[in-house]
């Protein structure tokens, strides 16, 4: 793809406020504190499997339009350059944070592989996962004592035996991606390979299996010769609009992903989340989440609910105390971004954009500056005789509950709803 098309892609993405690869490459990232912490975490991530510990996750915060998604995309570039597998997940109606299977599937579907369209895990399985490699042997050995459901060991065993049988490989990789697998098929395959007594294929609940999937995938990606797995979670603030119990579950899953509790940690995984800075006051405080969630779950009297309450509280602690706030742009930042943006725009459209005002305006977010500049240049080209007058309509968000966000998507596999 030529440079002009890349520049146009960058400008298109910036018009929508969705920073893409080209935009982030061209504009760079000035969030030095975040980059520095991320570098440290990546170093920890490299050694995390050997240490059997998960690096503590990060939470990046900024107001709407303040650059969170841009920072996450920058982190994605850095991590991929350093041989980490990267997933970018946007919390949405389809990917509900309280449902670990949905988050897992979204993470695997969004795995980025250079020059591969879709199906990144299948491509990884074919091109990077060698069953004869020491890394694969290490995976198989680890699975024996990992405490994970034996489906993982069984499918890994069968993958090794499958050789060139693409249909079997496809079914196994499908399971690794988060699809259900027919236990009967597995048993048949194990019988055929003389391993029917090696794997119990014990029953397990969907949610618990989903949580184990993260542990397995982190190891599988290591076996595929990545140095670790980075999951970038965008738009976490959406969980502020869940009803209270689902919000409690969402906090708990977030705590697991961020590695906030050693006993449920995922070695080989680093999670970075992006959230709005007022989440603590507008949701945790305003909705009295600490009391409401703690009370409701503990009142159930079972271990799982106690765990949910405890994990939820640790996630709330992290949101209250560990946010890495993106600072507002300075005058120098604005001038630099305007200069770079002008260069991208020039490359995109073969013109010399007019010099514009880069002066700081209180309360204005980077997104608004960038869109104002681009809109002005667009109008200069579309209507050269017209003097643009840009106006801003402030977009406001609140955290009003929306039960629709919790409804399953219509075509969700009914098999997901039953215990396996």
């Amino acid at each position: 793809m030529n440079g002009q098309v890349s520049a146009r892609r960058a400008i298109e993405a910036l018009r929508a406020g969705v920073p893409n690869r080209d935009a982030v490459s061209a504009l760079g990232c000035s969030a030095r504190e975040v980059l520095s912490v991320f570098d440290d975490r990546l170093r920890e991530l490299r050694g995390s499997v050997a240490r059997e510990s998960q690096p503590r996750g990060m939470l990046v915060a900024a107001d709407f339009g303040g650059g969170k998604s841009h920072v996450l995309e920058s982190l994605s570039h850095i991590a991929r350059r350093e041989n980490f597998a990267v997933s970018k997940v946007v919390i949405s109606k389809e990917t509900q944070l309280f449902d670990p299977l949905k988050v897992f599937r979204a993470a695997v579907e969004s795995l980025v592989c250079e020059n591969v369209v879709g199906d990144a895990l299948r491509d990884i399985a074919v091109s990077r996962l060698s069953t004869k490699s020491p890394q694969f042997t290490e995976l198989s050995l680890w699975l024996r004592d990992s405490g994970l459901n034996s489906r993982f060991a069984a499918t890994t065993w069968l993958f090794e035996q499958a050789g060139a049988d693409s249909e079997i490989q496809d079914e196994l990789v499908g399971f690794w991606e988060g699809a259900a697998v027919q236990v009967g098929h597995l048993r048949q395959g194990l019988r055929q390979t003389g391993a029917s007594k090696l794997f119990a294929l014990e029953k397990i609940g969907i949610k618990e299996l989903a949580r184990q999937r993260f542990k397995f995938m982190a190891r599988l990606l290591r076996a595929a010769r990545y140095d670790g797995w980075v999951i970038l979670l965008d738009e976490l603030e959406l969980m502020g609009r869940y009803t209270v119990l689902q919000r409690g579950r969402a906090y708990a899953e977030l705590a697991r992903l961020l590695g906030l509790a050693d006993e449920v940690g995922v070695p080989g995984l680093l999670t970075v989340g992006a959230v709005t800075p007022d989440f603590a006051s507008a949701v945790i405080d305003e909705k009295d989440d600490r009391n409401q969630i703690g009370f409701r779950f503990r009142a159930r009297g079972d271990l799982e609910s106690d765990m949910t309450a405890a994990l939820a509280e640790s996630a709330m602690d992290a949101i209250e105390r560990e946010l890495l706030r993106l600072r507002e742009p300075t005058q120098d930042d604005l001038a630099e971004v305007l200069t770079r943006l002008s260069e991208i725009y020039s490359a995109a459209y073969g013109c010399t954009p007019a010099r514009l005002d880069a002066s700081f305006k209180t309360g204005q977010q980077m997104r608004e500056y960038i869109r104002s500049w681009i809109t002005t240049w667009d109008l200069n080209r579309v209507a050269p005789a017209y003097e643009p007058e840009i106006e801003l309509e402030r977009i406001t968000d609140d955290y009003a509950e929306d039960a629709l966000l919790e409804k399953a998507v219509e075509d969700d596999d009914p098999g997901d709803q039953a215990a396996m």
Binding site: Q4, R9, V117, D119, G174, T375, D378, E393, K407, D411
Partner: protein, 327 residues
Amino acid sequence: MTSGIPPEIDATEYASFLADAYLTGFVADGGAAVKFAVAAGNEALDGFGQALATESERLGFTFVRVDSAQAKVSMIQQVFFSVSGQIDWHGLARRVNTSLASELYEDDGSAMTVPKIAERNEVDENIVRHEMHKRLSRHVIRNYALAKDFRVAMTQLCLAQLDDDALGQQSCTSILDWLRGDLRLISAVKPLQIYQRIGRHNARAMLASTARWIRQTGGAGLVVNLDLRGLAAMHRRDVPDDEIYYTPAALWDAYEVLRQFVDATDEMEGLLIIVSTPDSLLDDFSNRSLQKYRALRNRIWDDVRDRRHVNPYAPMVRIASSQGSAA
């Protein structure tokens, strides 16, 4: 403070703009974009859709229309099936076979099958078959810019055309059923090395691959006009029996599908998606409003705009309901 009334553009003018500023030189060169065209009346949206179709086809693009009243746009795989149902897959395969065969053999415009090529060129059929398989392997199977199952499907279509026997015809039928969502049993395509249905997890990759495939076969790219008028009905009783009613949850799913398209332009080449939106879906006070699905609103809303002049490059553009544009 905003001026209150967002500026608008004439439908035909916007279609021409998209042709000049997007289809020519950006999408045709491998770019991708998603735009929302909003209008008050059916006439404006119909006029815009027709003008867009004309411009697209004039520039060598494949134009398809997905009607949300007929295709469940809350499910991305249904969007793909609707697109797929309008693609001349046989025609595209024929173009590939013709192009690959012409590297070695004479083409007189007659049937592009192995027996006919062999006969025309006085070459043994087995040699022709071997050479074509080699070329398909190089140009299609190993084109990793296409999703794996997609390239397998396209290869199988090309091979089926070349052999033109009963087995090949059966393969074609199965592949087309698979592409269009009509496949009853996945076992029909397993012998062709396709093991999974097209679903939510892979439909977007299939759509991206379709645009790339069209370009690979000599077309300029793909233009998809997604018409959201079917989403606007407030109550089930307002919808004819043969049309789809979107519950509030399904509506949110539809908006999420659109949000994902906006975010996914990095993965796409040679694809322009234009979402025709009735302005009733932008109503501040309606529970069905697109504004209520904030993830989408935040990506397309014209919160930064000029007071009087429409910016046709914006993610969302308002089309005038009668002749003439503002400023």
